[in-house]
């Protein structure tokens, strides 16, 4: 069994204690996913596992065997052009130090997919009402699993809104 990361297959580490995050960072040269707390309390390590946002620090690499992992390195187009959400983060200054940024971006991509399929959130007023209204408050709640210590939150929310609005117009 192999782990597919951004379309490329990687071997499952022999030591099953290795987290998906450490496999990416220390054994695969993919250091875009960040280690912040290593215990599920900051979101910096967020990646997409079979399209769902998860914490790679609490996922054993071996649990990802046979699955597709998408990391920040797999977000931009292959020819190097930035993903529109990445560009929106730059446009709205949705980061300062840049350390939580890959996790924020991967988390936002997962979040938008959850939203699209109608998943409610803690702040959704009507649980049975289908897709919730896309609001600042919805984004904030759904992104609360990603800490940012520089305080770029306003820019992050604005970037996500810009990207989502552009998508809605397509």
């Amino acid at each position: 069994m192999r782990i597919t990361v951004n379309g490329t297959d990687y071997p499952v580490p022999d030591d099953v204690r290795v987290s998906l995050l450490d496999m990416l960072r220390e054994r695969s040269g993919l250091t875009g996913s960040k280690l912040g707390c290593n215990q599920g309390a900051c979101g910096a390590c967020t990646v997409l596992l079979d399209g769902e946002r998860v914490l790679s620090c609490l996922t054993l690499a071996v649990q990802a065997a046979g699955r597709e992992v998408r990391t920040i390195e797999g977000v931009a187009a292959a020819e190097g052009e930035l993903h529109p959400l990445q560009q929106a983060f730059i446009d709205h200054d949705g980061f300062q130090c840049g350390y939580c940024t890959p996790g924020q971006i991967c988390s936002a991509l997962g979040m938008l997919e959850e939203f699209r399929r109608g998943d409610p959130s803690h702040v959704t007023a009507d649980l049975a009402g289908g897709q919730a209204r896309f609001s600042h408050e919805e984004i904030r709640e759904r992104m609360s699993g990603n800490l940012c210590r520089c305080g770029a939150h306003n820019g992050i929310v604005a970037a996500i809104l810009q990207f989502a609005d552009a998508g809605a117009g397509e």
């Binding site: 290593n38 054993l60 959850e114 399929r117």
Partner: protein, 328 residues
Amino acid sequence: MTPFSYRVATSTTEALAAAPDSSERFLGGGTNLVDLLRQNVEQADALVDVSRLPASIDETEDGGLWVGAAVRNTALAADPRIGARYPMLSRALLSGASAQIRNMATVGGNLLQRTRCAYFYDVPGARCNKRVSGAGCDAIGGFTRYHAILGASEQCAATHPSDMCVALMALDTVVHLDDGNEKRRLPLSEFYRLPGNTPHFETELRTGELVTGIQIPSCRAAVNSTYRKVRDRSSYAFALVSVAAAMRVENGVIADIRLALGGVAPRPWRAAKAEAALAGRAPSQEAFRNAADAELADARALGGNAFKIPLARSTIAAVLGELAGDAA
């Protein structure tokens, strides 16, 4: 982490195939267990990954729902049947952790979450009766802001951290267990133990026994239900106090009331005394406060958690008031 082996189970039979020794552990989403292993709070020789077992949510004959243990928290919260019939359960799930963690966490794993007591987690630095039976408890006399006001013992006052389980407790949920030889069902109220002199035993789960799923009975009152979680920030934090409540009012009196509390006890706390005080009564703020007082009459504070008693009282009253709406 001590070294361990790992295997994936694709069926319950497979999961239970190897006669598990006492240190073999079932791994769900890993959001709690991987952390506990990494912090050396727990050790395991072998992990059996049960997160890929079939995960379905099905109607039961009595009009309730069956939820497989491997169903992810996100899927359960977003299921329209849960949202329509048991909104308190959706809300409880959605108030827990973060979206990433809910995408990983399974129902079975959530049931077996362990406390977030900082002394429990501080393996090198603190004594803990839950980790080592009889070692002593450094939390008592220390920081007890997150600790229990109900159901605690001299040995342990750590709280159960789950939100989901508080709603499930209010809904008379039944846990299905299987050890390969015997299948059994336990009401959630009997599944969890209070610490007493053995805080290291938290549930009635037997060695090698697997949670296969939960059964949520039909509950008309739950259509009018909610979950409110009070915490130290607005999201992504464990509860200081949480309230799951369902209420059905008929002919001006409370015909059915379900009330459970989180963050206040070593297990999800069914507020049976408050329910008894409310059954058949006309809903009113006075009745709600009296019911809360009845439940909290036995509450004992350790110092840092004394605020939870008035907080639980007023939160119960606020939640019941919201459910009663114009009837109160």
